[in-house]
């Protein structure tokens, strides 16, 4: 099949702003939950007519306020979330959920509950670090606990059918993300547009996201693959997003990712009738992931699998500075990849900073070395 080399089509899909979505959802009688990274049962909130809006920072924030609560050796994601709240930007939200993803989010959750004490109801959710039956049992109880709290807070009691309905809708949305990622090389758009679109799932109701994702697919789908150098990104999130432009400008294409925002949340479909168990199973069986304490082997095999599937010859580890759990795996992952002939590079980032010229040059040089 001939490879496609036409110029990317950019930004043809009209994505509404997060603030507009929130406003509309509230105007229709719904409530909003701000969600910290990154595993959580989205369907549970939707069953209570609550729209979960994820907080991945936001980036490019001046985090002065958080510095009087947390030390500078804590990552920029946590600083941004706290600053965003302290600036009053979460006042539109009715609930805050801080999953136990890492030691830093553990600390943030605890500070929220004990010291910050926001007006909104704040929840925590412990994500177990195993993939055993015992972990599913525990997580389903954690989810049920939040169900009970939401029941108290909203005065509504969604039944099993409603919960299962939302589980299925969320699963459809995940399937759409999987489809877009799988067909990435056949979608004639730049990575910035691609990621803006798939990441809109972080704040859109699943039904809206499915619609947009379908339209996106139809608009950009081409018959022959783009003739670009495939590369894989790994880390927490593609921020600062300019990295995507740097890759594209060097004739590269992000062919797949192992990001917490996307690749690590391509949950498998769940089965069964008990909605709490279904939601727990999906999360417990998520792709290999540092935050779940997975083995080096599992993570390495997963990365190799993505590179083989996409033909990528390079992996960029885009690491939020101070994100300890990511650093641990790097020496082993890089060695394992290199043994398979796959090049890799580590870039430390701060989501609140611009990409430095030095970082841009490093990425450019790296891209040039890929065949």
């Amino acid at each position: 099949m001939a490879a496609h080399s036409m110029v990317y089509l950019k930004g043809m899909i009209n994505l509404k702003k997060r603030s507009e979505i929130i406003k509309k959802f509230k105007a229709e009688g719904g409530q909003i939950a701000a969600i910290a990274p990154y595993h959580y049962p989205k369907a549970l909130f939707r069953a209570f007519n609550i729209l979960p809006v994820e907080l991945w920072g936001p980036p490019k924030l001046n985090t002065l306020e958080s510095k009087s609560h947390i030390q500078t050796y804590i990552c920029s994601v946590v600083h941004s979330i706290l600053t965003f709240h302290l600036k009053g930007n979460l006042s539109v939200c009715d609930y805050i959920l801080i999953p136990h993803t890492c030691d830093s989010l553990q600390g943030l959750g605890s500070i929220f509950l004990d010291f910050i004490k926001p007006e909104q109801k704040a929840f925590t959710l412990y994500i177990p670090r195993g993939r055993r039956q015992v972990d599913i049992d525990f997580l389903s109880k954690e989810i049920e606990k939040i169900y009970n709290e939401l029941q108290k807070a909203t005065g509504t009691t969604p039944d099993k059918n409603e919960l299962n309905h939302h589980i299925e809708t969320e699963e459809q949305a995940v399937s759409m993300v999987k489809k877009l990622i799988k067909n990435r090389a056949y979608l004639n758009t730049d990575d910035y547009t691609f990621y803006k679109t798939i990441r809109s799932k972080e704040y859109l109701p699943a039904e809206d996201f499915i619609e947009i994702a379908e339209e996106f697919y139809k608009t950009y789908k081409i018959d022959t693959p783009l003739n670009k150098k495939p590369v894989i990104l790994s880390g927490l999130l593609p921020e600062p997003m300019e990295i995507l432009n740097v890759i594209n400008e060097k004739d590269g294409l992000v062919a797949g990712d192992d990001f917490a925002t996307t690749g690590r949340r391509l949950y498998p479909k769940s089965e069964g009738q008990n909605p709490f168990v279904r939601m727990a199973k999906s999360i417990v069986h998520s792709p290999p992931d540092s935050s779940r304490g997975d083995s080096v082997e599992a993570r390495l095999n997963h990365l190799i699998h993505i590179t083989e599937k996409t033909g990528a010859k390079g992996v960029i580890f885009f690491i939020v500075k101070f994100c300890e759990m990511e650093y641990f795996y790097l020496p082993h992952l890089r060695k394992g990849l290199s043994e398979k002939g796959i090049k890799s590079i580590v870039i430390d980032t701060d989501i609140n900073d611009e990409l430095s010229q030095q970082t841009i040059t490093r990425i450019e040089v790296f891209m040039e070395t890929l065949k």
């Binding site: 009087s68 609560h69 947390i70 030390q71 050796y73 804590i74 136990h100 890492c102 030691d103 830093s104 553990q106 600390g107 943030l108 959750g109 605890s110 500070i111 509950l113 004990d114 010291f115 925590t124 412990y126 177990p128 670090r129 195993g130 055993r132 015992v134 972990d135 049992d137 525990f138 109880k141 954690e142 606990k145 540092s290 304490g293 997975d294 083995s295 080096v296 082997e297 500075k321 101070f322 994100c323 300890e324 759990m325 650093y327 641990f328 795996y329 790097l330 020496p331 082993h332 890089r334």
Partner: protein
């Protein structure tokens, strides 16, 4: 093969190790005596200090010859070791080993080795120290025995889970993870159930298979009893530091706590703390403090700065600053009342190991600090903001503010690291400590 190894073990530990360590003890007794000359602001330490070194060293010495004699496990400091002990495992605590490297000031070379292999300097310095030791084979303990099993428990941090994943990769042996959900408020029944099930279904079968025997309830009860007795004695010793002048400072306690971490569950450890209790009690009876002159009393929060222990102890003592207690050393004693021997052992273990201060919320720690300030009649708090230990350090800024504003307790944040000297700025620390002394009214000026 095993018979030969057992013979060698007996020979080396009894005929060679014991006399050798006794000689070493004599040497360190002399060394200690020299350090505490008449001009020192510190009174001579407990007699048991030199024995502590011998006691801890004997554990590592046994470790050199233990392979093939007993099954070996490397475990995290907060791991539910009673089950392994009852099955006859010999235990090594990589965190304690890293602390030992820090205290002996050999850690920086090891850290460099780990970083050279690609481990980021943003990873906990205990891990860097220990991985550096594993990669280079260098250790002040002589040699660490190769483990048959790794056991990581998440009740102190998530760091250890990733650390043990790396060890699993290096050593290619089974790893059991006991996941203890973080307790934001109170311990909940489903958390206890979760931990208990993991003990029964994840840890026990693997440990029994490696030990080639089944767990006996009687043995387990015996080990829990030793753990409880040692922990209770430790708590009583620390409570003696409520007296004025305090018979010990945290700098002593940081050294004396090693056996409660790495040898709890042994009869000898109970004997050791019994001896210590008697000596500390007699110091209290004769009103002999750790410092020659105790002017102010402070609380220490977080891990020690291992490579600066002596310097800080002297610096504080010179101004009459005594630090009779820390949240870190007290954390081990606090668990004693939870070890209820009349209840189901697995339920008890689950509750105990869900409860360490590091697995509790930031508000709980603040309350603990306020309570300690009252009970130990303290004048202020030093919060060591430890760059390596995020779970212990997060929350400290709010805790400090609350201590000052709500409870009117002077408090200071000290930015450092337990093992990484690169995160320790001599000048900045001196300035901060000096201004805190001023605030406490004990400056030279």
């Amino acid at each position: 093969m095993n018979v030969l190894k057992k013979l060698k073990y007996a020979l080396m530990t009894n005929l060679i190790g014991k006399p050798y360590l006794r000689i070493e003890r004599k040497k360190s007794e002399k060394k200690i005596a020299k350090l505490f000359n008449p001009d020192s602001p510190l009174n001579p330490p407990l007699k048991i200090t030199a024995y502590t070194k011998e006691f801890v060293s004997s554990h590592y010495f046994k470790g050199r010859y233990i392979e093939g004699v007993k099954p070996v496990a490397w475990v995290t400091s907060g791991a539910p070791i009673e089950i392994l002990k009852a099955l006859g495992f010999f235990l090594i605590y990589p965190e304690n080993h890293a602390a030992l490297c820090g205290a002996r000031k050999v850690q920086m070379d090891l850290i460099k080795t780990a970083e050279k292999e690609g481990l980021s300097n943003n990873v906990c310095s205990y891990v860097r120290t220990d991985i550096g030791s594993l990669l280079s084979g260098r250790t002040p303990a002589g040699k660490l025995p190769k483990p048959d099993l790794l056991l990581a428990c998440s009740n102190i941090c998530q760091t250890v889970l990733h650390w043990y994943r790396m060890l699993e990769k290096h050593l290619n042996i089974p790893l059991v993870i006991i996941d203890t959900p973080f307790v934001y408020n109170e311990i909940e029944p489903h958390q206890v159930e979760y931990v208990k099930k993991q003990l029964l279904h994840s840890l026990l079968p693997v440990a029994e298979k490696i030990a080639k025997k089944s767990l006996k309830e009687k043995e387990l009860k015996k080990v829990i009893k030793f753990s409880k007795d040692a922990t209770e004695l430790w708590l009583e010793i620390l409570n003696l530091c409520k007296e004025k002048p305090s018979p010990l400072t945290v700098f002593d306690q940081f050294v004396f706590m090693a056996p409660i971490v790495e040898m709890r569950g042994d009869r000898e450890t109970v004997d050791y703390y019994n001896e210590m209790y008697k000596e500390v009690k007699s110091k209290v009876n004769t009103r002999k403090g750790a410092l020659k002159r105790e002017r102010r009393r402070l609380l220490w929060d977080n891990l020690p700065i291992w490579f600066k222990m002596r310097e800080l102890a002297v610096k504080m003592a010179e101004r009459g600053i005594s630090i009779p207690i820390s949240t870190y050393t007290y954390a081990w004693g606090e668990l004693a009342p939870l070890m209820d021997l009349k209840k189901d052992e697995f339920e008890v273990i689950a509750k105990v190991y869900l409860s360490p201060i590091l697995n509790r919320g930031t508000g709980h720690k603040l309350n603990t600090m306020v309570k300690m300030v009252k009970e130990f009649k303290l004048d202020g708090v030093i919060l060591h903001s430890d760059r390596s230990c995020k779970p212990y350090s997060m929350g400290q800024m709010d805790q400090r503010n609350r201590l000052i504003e709500e409870f009117k307790i002077p408090a200071m944040l000290l930015e450092a690291d337990q093992n990484d000297e690169n995160a320790y700025s001599e000048e900045q620390i001196a300035i901060r400590i000096e201004s805190f002394f001023e605030m406490l009214g004990v400056s030279y000026g």
